[in-house]
């Protein structure tokens, strides 16, 4: 397989996390940045959060244009399945205070014990889920 694209894409993700910390002093945790926009939060720091989140699709579009190919295939599940999965991701990242970016990248890079525990747990749960849905049911 091609190893250069995942490795350099990963390095770009790291660079984004370092920049957000160096400039704004913030962890690039996507679930947390979304959560900060939701009620009952006061709207005083909504600007940088919205700008960051709008940057995500913009960056993906830009990459697709530069590579000259589609980088976003359609989702895999039915609308109902996407609703269930999205709800679990929202509830889980709120309870667990982070997702793949906040715990899996920024937290691991800070050697946070909580982030190691969270990353091992969500990896294990996802592997079991894929095993059950792809091989047993």
């Amino acid at each position: 397989m091609d190893w250069l694209a995942p490795l350099s894409g990963g390095a770009l993700i790291g660079l984004a996390a370092v920049l957000l910390m160096a400039l704004n002093g913030r962890v690039a945790g996507i679930s947390g940045i979304v959560a900060g926009l939701l009620p009952p939060e006061p709207l005083r720091d909504a600007g940088w959060r919205l700008a960051f989140l709008l940057g995500l699709p913009a960056g993906a579009v830009l990459t697709g244009v530069m590579l000259g190919r589609a980088v976003i295939p359609p989702p895999l599940l039915s609308p109902g399945g996407m609703a269930v999965a999205g709800l679990l991701v929202g509830l889980g990242t709120a309870l667990g205070s982070g997702c793949t970016s906040g715990h899996g990248v920024c937290g691991l890079a800070r050697l946070s014990h909580r982030s190691f525990a969270a990353t091992l747990t969500f990896m294990a749960a996802a592997i079991v889920t894929v095993f059950l849905t792809r091989h047993l049911f």
Binding site: A5, P6, S8, G9, A11, L12, I13, G14, A16, A17, V18, M21, L23, N24, G25, S31, V34, A35, P40, G47, A51, F52, L53, G55, L56, P57, A58, G59, A60, L62, V71, I72, P73, P75, L76, L77, M82, A85, G86, L88, V89, G90, L91, T93, A94, G96, S97, C99, S101, L108, A109, R110, A118, F122, M123, A124, A125, T129, V130, R134
Partner: protein, 138 residues
Amino acid sequence: MARILAALLAGVLLGAGLALSGMTDPRVVIGFLDVAGAWNPALALVMAGAVTVTFVGYRLVFRCGRPLLAESFSLPAPKAIDSRLLLGAALFGVGWGLAGYCPGPALASLSAGATGTLIFVAAMAAGLAVVKAVRANF
């Protein structure tokens, strides 16, 4: 204004990194999680690249004492590993394994305009809001 532009730049880089690395394709993500199938190691390389750059970069940044555009670093307070953390991470893992989307790739994929992606993001926001509301009121 500078802080908003900085966040936009970081978001664009992160979205580009996700798209370049194949993380906006749920089949690539599920290919990594599917250890009993045709295993695809891409996600491990993405994590390795991202964590290495962040590990080194954070050390350099923290040595500066403060961020360029803010008073101080906003870091999560050190806490113990508790059951809420593990339960939350487990629920998140189930949702991630079902759809092959974690929050970043889901938001980056909104640009393709698929209804399923929009539903996922709306449900995710609802989940985040519910936990937040419960925490604020109890």
